[in-house]
Amino acid sequence: MEPDDRAVIVESLAEPTRFAAIFDRHYDAVYGFVARRVGAALAADVAAETFARAFAGRPRFRPGVSSSARPWLFGIAVNLLRHHYRTEARQLRAYARTGVDPVLDATPDVERRVDAEAAGPCLAEALAALRPAERDVLLLFAWADLSYVEIAEALGLEVGTVRSRLSRARNRVRERLAGDEQEVLETAPTGDANDG
């Protein structure tokens, strides 16, 4: 049986090359999360830096509810993404404004989902309007599949804070999407008008 992340990290203190196993296990997930937030160009750098920092900081690694390094790695990635909040918000607003997602548009061979694409600009606007701290929690939950407890570990928050931030973020997105839907209904021609 493969040793778990905690065991690998402890071994890597004596044998640094063992840390490569952590990279192999989690790089794609971290890269994918970062790429969805800020695009492939920045993701390459941020993901690589995430693992470089994780390696340097591995003596301080303390596993949480599970022995997985995943929450810890996503926590480091989110910390690094803080330098790119403006880029992220700018890209989301550009998508909302133009209907063209600069993140996906810069990526060749993207298989786009019809439902999400239709709602894309509205959703982009809703995500851009969130406070960065709320966006972090919401996207770690939705995209990184972290549990409340794991998000709390990743961001160094209380579980209650994660719960309330997530709830607030979801409400704000829901309200924003509902508002857009209402706006569409109000501006669409009605049957009465056509009859008249």
């Binding site: 490569a20 994918g32 969805r36 995500l127």
Partner: protein, 393 residues
């Protein structure tokens, strides 16, 4: 479709990392797997040199760590072009704490010490570390980049410079002649608009060195005297030239004075030899150490305290191979116990006194297959928080 489902599908078509991106990330991580460049770096156990004095001097440095900043964002302190990424990467896996003890100048901003450039000499690659001073100048330390022995880790040159190049010159240049002649190099400091320097050595040898953060350096045999240095702008035209300065002697890092008596921490008799380790307070919150080992009584050194302690810092000494070797060190606050593991798989607890340890190995444990392999420092919960592997030094 609820909002969470929509978010989950938002940009869900983003492709995974291309192979070359993943490979680059892996390479960047692998670069850190190289043995860390510590203040105490030795050759392999059997060819270790007896460098007890240097061990003590450097131990004092190791015991005083610092929250040292390091990174690209710090490379702008001197108004000049920072080194390209390829050069900066050479410093990425190095521990900047290892050079702090050599920056014991009162005006240098220690938190901004960083790697500036690296260059080849006949004796190996040499790195220049620098940090700004509060008066707008810079202090610098040249040190071999990949140390194999204790003497390698001692600075080849060190000092401080003012804000401007002196005497209205565009550059100054000199020849550093360290104790090891094959590590000689020409170096200097320029005005802002100098992009590279042509270094003219005796015998018609001309070498071109790029300027990073206003510093330049190029390997030069100690036997070749420096004739002149010509500063060139980015477009290649000559900006200025200068006569050589006198050779720069190897530095003696300044030491704070001892302000109290030595107190013995360890006094060990083993295999007929006596090892004594004592400490005393030094000015500016510093620390003095006094180590007595066979044939070397009272090897002393003092250093200013610079900040938080590393979890595990150690120095070692002894003649090559049998009959004995010793390890002296100190642990940080989070460390509750230290264990020494040997090549044969056995291990022993290392006694700590006031966070110091002095471990003497003799007999079987100085022979191949049984020698000390790794120090493991654990916190109170038993987690390993730091290691020092000896066979990689």
């Amino acid at each position: 479709m609820d909002e969470l489902q929509l978010i989950r599908e938002f940009r869900a078509g983003m492709p995974g990392p291309p192979d070359e991106t993943r490979a680059r990330g892996r390479e960047r991580l692998a670069a850190q797997f190289e043995p860390r460049s510590g203040a105490l770096v030795f050759g392999r156990f059997e060819r270790r040199k007896l460098l007890v004095g240097a061990a003590v001097a450097l131990l004092a440095g190791l015991l005083a760590g610092s929250a040292l900043a390091f990174g690209d964002r710090l490379l702008d302190f001197i108004r000049g072009e920072p080194a390209p990424k390829s050069v900066q990467r050479e410093f990425a896996h190095l521990d900047p704490h290892s050079v702090i003890p050599y920056f014991d100048y009162p005006t240098v901003i220690k938190g901004r010490i960083h790697g500036v450039l690296a260059f080849d000499t006949a004796g190996g690659r040499v790195a220049l570390w620098a940090g700004p001073t509060r008066s707008g100048g810079a202090c610098y330390v040249f040190r071999k980049l990949r140390q194999k022995t204790l003497s390698d880790s001692l600075p080849l040159a060190a000092g401080c410079l003012g804000r401007r190049v002196p005497d209205g010159l565009k550059l100054v240049a000199g020849l550093a002649t360290p104790a090891a002649p094959n590590l000689g190099f020409a170096w200097g400091y320029t005005a802002k608009n100098v992009a590279s320097v042509e270094v003219h050595l005796a015998g018609g040898v001309v070498k071109r060195a790029p300027v990073y953060e206003r510093f330049f350096a190029v390997g030069a045999p100690a036997t070749k005297s420096l004739v002149s240095a010509v500063g060139l702008a980015a477009d290649g035209h000559e900006v200025g030239r200068c006569c050589p300065l006198p050779p720069v002697p190897p530095p003696s890092p300044p030491q704070p004075p001892r302000v109290g008596p030595y107190q013995p921490v360890f006094d060990i008799q083993k295999a007929g030899h006596r090892f004594v380790f004592a400490i005393a307070p030094a000015a500016r919150g510093g620390l003095c150490t006094d180590l007595t080992s066979p044939g070397r009584p009272h090897e002393r050194s003092c250093i200013a305290r610079l900040g938080r302690l590393q979890p595990l810092g150690l120095g070692e000494g002894g003649p090559p191979g049998p009959p004995w070797a010793f390890f002296v060190g100190r642990v940080g606050n989070g460390v509750a116990s230290v264990r020494l593991r040997y090549e044969d798989g056995t291990s022993s607890k290392v006694p700590l006194t006031s966070r110091y340890f002095l471990e003497v190995v003799t007999g079987l444990h100085t022979r191949r297959g049984h020698r000390p392999l790794i120090f493991l420092a654990r916190d109170s919960t038993g987690h390993v928080v730091a290691t020092e592997r000896l066979d990689r030094r």
